[in-house]
């Protein structure tokens, strides 16, 4: 009893310890500066650019991962005997370390890289993905989608498996075509999955870091500088800017919390329908 008590207390205490210390970050800065760090951050051009870039990334990555995952889930659902194999194959990128994925795609996305060769095969002249400020962020979105899509596919498949077959039969009797069934049965009944996946993706995507750090390191011309990279640089590469970095991190948290709060509200009001 005492043993469990102690151990669980260590675990709980440890989490609490961290959560309490989060508030002390600004005090570590020895001199109390109040909200000056926040004010500076919001006036910092690079930081604002990183906020815009991160939002741009989120706006592209969340829908593309979600749509990709849903399409794959619908396909894999129909794959019959090949299902388990398809699942594992699509899933492998998401258990590959992000570092490996980034190093690999760094080469595939070069100007003369495999991606552009495949595009050239179809007759499209691909951009110099990672060196061009216009295509650098989309390139990172492509890599992130490639990596994450299998994971969310499995979540969607679980959601699909939860939909009772009789709804489809009923819709079929009412004369709904495949598209109609998808739109009026599958989509509404996957609502909980959608809510969960969107929340996970928004939280995760706002924290994009490793791909950027390895593939472009914020370049070209800060076109892929993201918030998490700014936090990392200010906290661990520049000297004496840890409080400033912490302020940036809290601003990031504020943005994420804002989206999650909106989503919670949306979810609750939607629940009244059924």
């Amino acid at each position: 009893m005492a043993l469990i008590g102690t151990f669980s207390l260590i675990a709980i205490g440890y989490s609490l310890w961290i959560s309490l210390h989060r508030y002390d970050v600004l005090a570590v800065h020895n001199q109390f500066v109040g909200l000056a760090n926040y004010r500076d951050a919001l006036g910092d051009e690079v930081f604002l650019k990183s906020l815009v870039n991160t939002s741009y990334y989120v706006v592209m990555a969340v829908p593309s991962i979600m749509c990709g995952a849903l399409i794959l889930a619908l396909l894999a659902d129909k794959a019959g005997r090949g299902g388990p194999v398809v699942k594992v194959v699509y899933f492998i990128p998401s258990i590959t370390p992000t570092v490996v994925v980034s190093l690999l795609w760094l080469w595939l996305l070069r100007d003369d890289g495999a991606v552009n060769q495949v595009l050239g095969f179809v007759g499209i002249r691909g951009p110099n993905w990672l060196q061009d400020p216009h295509s650098a962020m989309p390139a990172i979105v492509i890599v992130a989608t490639w990596q994450a899509v299998g994971y969310y596919m499995i979540i969607f498949m679980a959601g699909l498996a939860d939909i009772p077959k009789m709804y489809y039969d009923a819709a079929k009797i009412d004369g709904a075509g495949a598209l109609g069934r998808f739109w009026h049965v599958t989509i509404p009944l996957l609502r909980n999955t959608f809510v969960f996946v969107t929340a996970m993706l928004i939280i995760g995507s706002y924290q994009v870091f490793t791909q950027v750090y390895i593939m472009t390191n914020g370049g070209p011309q800060n076109a892929t500088e993201v918030v998490q990279a700014q936090v990392f640089r200010n906290a661990f590469q520049y000297v004496g800017k840890m409080g400033y970095a912490a302020a940036m991190a809290w601003i990031l948290f504020g943005i994420i919390a804002f989206f999650i709060a909106i989503q919670m509200k949306f979810m609750r009001s939607r629940k009244l329908y059924d």
Partner: protein
């Protein structure tokens, strides 16, 4: 007046509903033949798309493995040929000799195993306490624990780093692993599982004179084996793939895990890119094998986490 408005509404509803019904029956009576047949027998199309998707997923790995087996000259002159001429394992030899992949591999294995083992132990104890024991403020503490799951990594990174520095653990093995010893997600997941274990079992054991720790060790843990296996796999994969935390806390390359190791190897030996690829193959192989062996637990676990939402 109100009655009138109501009936008006009713009429409007009926009107607005009618055309819809009419539309549905109409489309049923006169189906557009081409899309219908395409939907009825989409087998070949389906197979094509699935295979295309699978190729997109697998081709980059093939490219990675092929290039890790090329000689440096072959790689620099034809980096995109899909056949190494000659097949050569020099890149792997160099990855171990110059890239110190062996040391990194050992570190990664050590970190991932210790983190997984200890976190399973501590999480399961904490989860048991949250699920079964009554103490003041339990729900509040649990709520706080759940709230920490929503915090972005950026927010926790700095305070955790400062704590580790203050403890004098920066640039040590313990410093890399300590933050991974307990996790909110694991406690949450195991608590949900423990709550589903019938309390009668524990009551029976208690009557037979079993201590609380005995119940935890002899009844709860064996029953929770599937949940523990799934969580353990997640933790292992997570710990193995972690990049940011070891990057922040370590400066001594002797302690680098393989993720940080290959990233830094790239910076110092960019000529030997094929050795970086060899390192990448070595870094991802254990996880891919683990997934192939234990896919039932991993995929099942992810499905479960999705259902909770």
């Amino acid at each position: 007046m109100t009655e009138l408005r109501n009936s008006e509404c009713g009429l409007r509803n009926a009107l607005s509903r009618n055309p819809k019904r009419a539309g549905v029956t109409a489309s049923r009576q006169s189906p557009i033949p081409i899309p219908q047949s395409a939907f009825r027998n989409p087998r070949w199309l389906l197979v094509c798309i699935i295979i295309l998707g699978a190729v997109t997923m697998i081709a980059p790995y093939v490219w990675l493995v092929v290039n890790s087996m090329k000689t440096v000259e072959d790689f620099t002159s034809h980096p995109y040929s899909m056949w190494p001429r000659p097949i050569n394992f020099g890149a792997y030899v160099r990855a171990f000799a110059l890239g110190r992949i062996g040391i990194y591999l050992r570190n990664s294995l050590f970190y991932a195993m210790v983190i997984t083992g200890l976190q399973l132990f501590l999480d399961s104890m904490a989860a048991y306490a949250f699920a079964r024991m009554k103490f003041r403020g339990r729900d509040a503490v649990f709520g706080a624990l759940l709230a920490t799951m929503m915090l972005p990594r950026a927010v926790t990174l700095i305070p955790v780093y400062l704590i580790i520095v203050k403890l004098g653990l920066a640039d040590t093995r313990l410093g890399v692993m300590l933050p991974g010893f307990a996790g909110a997600f694991g406690i949450f997941m195991l608590r949900q599982f423990f709550l589903n274990i019938p309390a009668d079992l524990e009551d029976a054991a208690r009557i037979d004179g079993c201590s609380t720790f005995g119940i935890y060790a002899r009844i709860i843990l064996p029953l929770a084996k599937p949940a523990l296996t799934t969580l353990g796999l997640f933790l292992f994969i997570g710990a193995w793939s972690d990049f940011v935390w070891p990057l922040v806390v370590l400066t001594d390359w002797d302690l680098y895990p393989i993720t940080v190791g290959i990233a830094s190897f790239r910076n110092e030996a960019w000529i030997y890119w094929n050795s970086v690829f060899a390192g990448s193959v070595i870094a991802s192989l254990p996880l891919i094998c683990l997934t192939l062996v234990a896919q039932r637990y991993i995929i099942g676990g992810i499905s479960l986490s999705g259902m909770k939402g």
